[in-house]
């Protein structure tokens, strides 16, 4: 597949360079490790540090979410590959202000091992308290009884938002972890893929689908989904996604939710709004209140075609955090 790149082995370095230069007032690269980026404004004293990260290729996630009201630092891996412990550790040291650091990341074998090693080193070498919340929002990736095995996809945005707001409000580490964990427990996502992406280094499509097929419940690295099906009209696709989400996490009439209709890369805003429209119909029919909506490409898989729907149940505490302002290079909320 065609890409506007130079050396395929240097895409992550060049992306980071461009990103840092585009937002010098927002983010800076650590001298200790060029894959560790932190807020240029310096984490406030006494604030819990919020650290996110994972493989590249999901932009605006995760680099785009460093800023006021969201994360203080991010560790950047190769494409679709967890960062190693070094950048995680360096970012941890840079953003710890004595109150500890929360790690928020998707539940993937690689991330679990690398963030786990970094947390251990932060404790042993630097005496920094680290709390970890693994995002497990993807309904399609394991049965309900094994939610702890599920992978994290677009719902990580809401978990980061909740934790970022809680930390910004001065919550201590235990409470920020509690809030993030609750946000994760209250969040479900399910996605559908139409066209594959390709790694810059191989140029090969991540999966193959006929012109009339879609992949249901696929992962956000192009991992195959739970089943292939006929390509259906948008409304039927949304019905299927919402059905699986609401079976897994029943929401009562009168409850508030946040909604994210997320594009995986090459899906247009037009398609996402058409999908959101159907989500709104379904929720309205059930008497569920949409407290806030997010529609756009918040967490992508390179240029993959497809979309996911995320629903987060909101109690009073989470609703306030979703409304909390944020000022990141790739996400601003007033």
């Amino acid at each position: 597949m065609k890409k506007l790149i130079n050396d395929p082995t240097r895409v992550v370095e060049e992306m980071i360079e461009g990103y840092i230069k585009a937002y010098p007032k927002h983010v800076r690269q650590l001298a200790e490790n060029d894959r560790a980026l932190v807020t240029a404004k310096e984490t406030r004293n006494g604030k819990v540090g919020v650290l996110i990260g994972g493989g590249s290729g999901h932009e605006p996630a995760f680099i785009g979410y460093v800023g006021a009201g969201m994360a203080d630092g991010v560790a950047v891996g190769n494409i679709f590959a967890s960062p190693p412990p070094d950048p995680i550790l360096e970012a941890t040291k840079a953003i710890d202000k004595g109150k500890g650091v929360i790690y928020i990341y998707g539940n993937y074998a690689g991330d679990v091992m690398n963030f786990g090693m970094a947390a251990e080193l932060a404790d042993l070498e630097s005496d920094i308290r680290v709390g970890s919340v693994l995002v497990t929002d993807d309904v399609a990736s394991a049965p309900k009884e094994e939610k702890q095995k599920r992978r994290g996809i677009a719902g990580e945005f809401f978990v980061t938002k909740a934790a970022g707001a809680a930390a910004d409000k001065g919550y201590n580490l235990e409470d920020v972890v509690r809030v993030a964990q609750k946000a994760n427990d209250y969040t479900r996502t399910m996605g559908v893929g139409l066209t594959p992406c390709s790694l810059p280094q191989t140029g090969k499509p991540s999966f193959e689908l006929a012109d009339n097929e879609m992949e249901i419940g696929l992962g956000h690295h192009g991992e195959p989904g739970i089943e292939k099906g006929d390509l259906l009209p948008a409304d039927q696709v949304v019905d299927r996604l919402m059905h699986d989400i609401l079976i897994d996490m029943p929401v009562e009439s009168g409850e508030k939710v946040a909604v994210l209709v997320n594009g995986l890369g090459s899906t247009t805003n037009m398609e996402l709004y058409i999908m959101f429209r159907r989500v709104e119909h379904i929720l309205r029919d059930k008497g569920i209140i949409i407290h806030r909506s997010y529609v756009g490409s918040y967490s992508t898989s390179l240029e993959m075609g497809g979309a996911s729907v995320t629903i987060t149940r909101l109690d009073e505490e989470l609703a306030a955090f979703i409304d909390h302002p944020a000022d990141c290079p790739l996400y601003v909320q007033k």
């Binding site: 190769n78 679709f80 074998a109 690398n114 090693m117 191989t202």
Partner: protein
């Protein structure tokens, strides 16, 4: 038998070359089961190791230090799942041969047993879950048993590589339980696990390196 630091470095160099050749094949397996990057990840990691071999490690004569730095370098270069796994293997192996300038039969056995134990501990996978453990654990077991009887590393390791191959092949028929492919269910059947393949390649490369070194 005896392995010098130079021969140990030749082994690592041979892995570097081999991974470049096998890169596409490993990506192909991972495309079917995971995110398609296993070959790329291995290549990035081993290229980083190669730079160290040509630089910092050029005159290093301590096998343990070589293995330790190879592990740390691999980890820093790739992260991913296999970063912590292979890195732990090489670093634990290093610990088992600390201070050794040459590796005799016993040290070589200890190195590979520690290598496999380290990976098992890091990833917590069991045989039958369709991971590199399906290659590595039978190899380590075979190595230990045979070596206990013979004290002959080359003979025991030759057997171990055969056990590794069988283990690797067995992953084709397995339902995945770990890592990305575990979400595939039935669809994971019929494809060999990429990590099982790359770990077999590493063991096999070690065998060919020491047997060709021996005949010299």
């Amino acid at each position: 038998m005896k392995i010098t630091a130079a021969e140990f470095k030749t082994f690592l160099k041979n892995v570097v070359t081999m991974m470049e050749e096998q890169k596409d094949y490993l990506c192909e397996l991972d495309r079917k089961l995971g995110d398609g990057d296993h070959g790329v990840t291995m290549s990035i990691g081993w290229q980083a190791v190669n730079e160290k071999l040509d630089g910092e490690l050029k005159d290093e004569q301590d096998c343990a230090k070589i293995s330790m730095l190879a592990g740390r370098t691999f980890l820093s270069a790739v992260g991913s799942s296999v970063g912590p796994l292979y890195a732990t293997g090489f670093m634990r192996g290093a610990k088992a041969i600390q201070g050794k300038l040459e590796l005799g039969d016993q040290e070589l056995r200890d190195f590979w047993v520690a290598f496999v134990d380290g990976i098992k501990e890091r990833g917590k996978a069991e045989v039958g879950e369709k991971t590199m453990i399906d290659t590595l654990q039978p190899a380590a077991e075979s190595l230990q048993t045979k070596f206990a009887h013979t004290n002959d590393f080359v003979a025991s390791f030759t057997e171990a590589v055969k056990a590794a191959e069988l283990g690797m092949e067995s992953t084709t028929g397995m339902l995945s339980k770990r890592g990305r492919s575990s979400r595939l269910g039935e669809r994971s059947l019929g494809t060999k696990d990429p990590g099982a393949a790359s770990s077999y390649m590493i063991l096999h490369t070690f065998l060919t390196t020491i047997t060709s070194a021996q005949t010299v």
